[in-house]
Symmetry: none
Subunit: 231 residues, 4 copies
DNA sequence: AATGAATGAGCCTTCATTCAT
DNA sequence: GATGAATGAAGGCTCATTCAT
């Protein structure tokens, strides 16, 4: 009835599902707090209020718990993203602004919405054996999404190097708030992470980025026109 | 003979000073690599080539070693910064470009130049009890420096909120490369962190940032002129 | 509903009997493979294809499962032995050769025929609390059988000390192959335990033993004749 | 200062050597008793009267402690063997008798002399990752020694298959007493393992074996003579 | 009769720290 | 000043066993 490799999970009843959910919740919170390596199974079980051997019973080992915690957060995030994408026939600049705002809000909220992002932050400085999975299932989709938006804004393919550099510039501005929660709070005490302030930050990041993106788009259009006139 | 809190250190001669230096060097390298929590005293002593009990003898405990490692890196960095500032009568745009380039190079270099920055990156995701000291002695000066440059570029005081937001935007773009070494390598395999590529990235970040900064400066100058005309 | 000591077993119908049988089969195989201590209930249940709690339900604990596994193997072996004895009006030398051959084949065969012998081998180096039962129900009958054969061959009572020593000599030669599977394979790689080689080994052991046994019988007969002449 | 792989041992002072010796003694006794897998570091340290983390400090891990325990026992045994071989200009039959007697005495003695043999017995039924080392350093020399004696007795090379089978027959008779200590005691309570009884057993095994060995030698000599006459 | 779930003890190992010389 | 040795507290994991349906 082990679950190693995630290959064969126990057929589980409602009671087990409840315990698993409690564990995954507690794990997500603690992994987001201190990362994979510093998180202890004991503490996760304690926070979940269950016996310390149940991680092994339900997930096989710590790494599998971590992986499934990630998967769960990813699937939740994906659902949110889809829902968000549905009503986005808006122009790409608006999409960018909304995406940045949404991400920042998630970061600051103590709840589930920011956990994934903070876990990724830990994974970046302290890679785990699950790094490949994290990259493929979390980071790559996230980056691809930003590549698309950036590409649309500057009129270049998503795979273009300039597109990527722009995407990284946008991501970097956002990610720093995901990383640096407690540190920023001490460094910058007069800037509480209230919803209002977060919105101002989000707007700033958007404006900051658009200044360059529009400039590139303009140059791009000029070059395209010149090329078409030459033909 | 304990040294906790730096209060009472063992009386020391030149031999002790040498050992301390070796330990601080080794510690800086390892703390930069894996952060405070994953670093082990054993490995630090091994790399320093000294007995495993000497950290406790000279520094009292691991945390104090960490703190003094930071202090040392900070003082070195300060000296470098001062030296760098001396021959910088250059325009602020050039200073910005050079600062970004230097920071990025330090990140990728295995040597001392990036250690402090990488330790700060770890501290952001995994704060230690020394966080306050890190913030005050490392991050605040670093940010102040960037505030100054950004303020000069946009024609606003360093303490202005918009100046700060701009500084954070610049920092964020740089910091992501300090964090994400192994992850970025997997995510973006065709972009090796060679010196050439790093320079291209540095230039991109500078251009990306300047687009907005110049725009703000322009608006600022217009507003100032309008204000002066009104008077 | 506990079954410790075999005293109070759960009342059972045919379904239960089937489960018990599957468990006893799986247990025999695994106990023969790795012995009592290294065998895990989980693996036994997995091989039996039943729920992991059923060992405790049907047998109370691991030790009782072990004991009943032994009892079952013993009773099977006894039936076989009786059947074998029926068509053995052969001379004792032939019986000895056949017995040795059968035992050796059982040792190498993955099947049921060698399980009991291999469990006894484990019990010898790693006695369990069931040792007394093993000795009384398995080893003593086995040895008695060999005592009889040896006694018949040398013309002395089964209980005679010399008979016993001879029996041990025969047993020892056979048992080493029951023990030492993997080790012998590494020590003596060119001697694969194929059926042909096992038969050669069996014949060697028989010849080796008969050389002494016949010699004793000869001396015995001489002594008897001398004694009868004296009377 | 770790000792993993046995490659780099700490340079150690007398105090450490004492602790190591206590640990190796306790380990040998317990490994001989219950084998590698069932032995616990806790119990070994308890019997040695030292802290439970010292196995790790001095040996790195349990397996390395096991390996060094073996090495030590082997070297002691080798010294004894050499000493024994020195005054053996005796005929091979005498050597055989003495070898068997010595081995049996070691088996029954509660002391160091039998530990190695009993550990090997465990290794045979429960191979450890150190099996290769055990085979090469303990079993192979032991077997080679017996091969030599057996070859000398029957006039065939040590590597001949018949020589090997004979050697195994001799070994098997001895080994059973090494294996089966507690079991034999219960099976055969009237045969206490007193020195006198052990000597009688040793003599029996020798006589039992010589009966066949002499017979083979005789046949061998006849065959050789016949061959030489034909030429 | 059976099952999934839960439990607690125990094991090996790692680590920062302390002791004695 | 420095060293080897020693210590105790966790940490992850396994296992036999028990509980509640």
């Amino acid at each position: 009835m082990r679950a190693k490799n995630g290959a064969t999970r126990p057929a589980h009843g409602p009671a087990a599902e409840d315990t698993r959910a409690k564990l995954l919740d507690a794990a997500a919170e603690i992994f987001a707090d201190v990362g994979y390596h510093r998180a202890t199974i004991r503490e996760i079980c304690a926070r979940a209020g269950v016996n310390g051997a149940l991680v092994n019973y339900h997930f096989g080992d710590k790494l599998e718990l971590y992986a499934q915690t990630l998967e769960r957060l990813v699937s939740v995030a994906r659902i949110d993203a889809v829902r968000a994408a549905l009503n986005q026939k808006a122009p790409p600049e608006t999409i960018l602004r909304e995406a940045i705002r949404a991400r920042l809000r998630g970061v600051a909220a103590g709840d589930q919405s920011g956990w994934l992002f903070r876990i990724v932050a830990h994974e970046m400085t302290q890679p785990t054996p699950a790094m490949t999975r994290v990259v493929n299932s979390v980071l790559r989709p996230l980056y691809n999404q930003v590549y698309e938006i950036a590409g649309a804004l500057i009129g270049l393919p998503a795979a273009d190097e300039q597109t990527r550099l722009c995407a990284h510039s946008v991501m970097g501005q956002v990610i720093i708030y995901a990383f640096a929660g407690p540190v920023l709070a001490r460094l910058w005490p007069d800037m509480q992470m209230t919803p209002e302030n977060l919105d101002r930050i989000a707007n700033h990041i958007t404006d900051f980025s658009l200044a360059y993106l529009r400039q590139v788009r303009g140059a791009q259009q000029l070059a395209a026109k010149a090329a078409s006139m030459r033909n």
